[in-house]
Symmetry: C2
Subunit: 96 residues, 2 copies
Amino acid sequence: MNMDELTVLRKKLDEVNLELLALINERGKLVQEIGEVKKKQGTKRFDPVRERDMLNVISDNNKGPFQDATLQHLFKEIFKASLELQEDDMHKALLV
Amino acid sequence: MNMDELTVLRKKLDEVNLELLALINERGKLVQEIGEVKKKQGTKRFDPVRERDMLNVISDNNKGPFQDATLQHLFKEIFKASLELQEDDMHKALLV
């Protein structure tokens, strides 16, 4: 009985993992597009004010169970990875 | 024209951020439930084999633009935060 319960929960977790994967990659594509627009405009890629705003929205909308601090940490990691993605694109463009 | 393009992309990014927030918290709740079941069973919370399996599934299903290594890093951070969530629950239970 308990074993089944664990199997069901793990199956749900696997589904959530795949949804997260798709969403993180969707976010990556959007950040790449934003990088392209900023490149055309000659605007800096890293915008600390915009990043702070996004983190505030995360905290304002957090219903738990994760604490704000934990979510801010996770999102900062996602932001950092996204910025690196833009830098990779920049680097590739320079190599062309 | 370009400014509007940036505004539209940022609006989409804000939506994806909120979807990610909801999904990470949904994952947190599932992990808490799994923690409860494991507690009843007397099983260890941390299962490195299960974690490795989940990371392999992430890589197998990765369609980019993020590289496997980046996604593995992000998911490891999410796993770590989830484990801490179970530990918090454990700690609270001990205080009751």
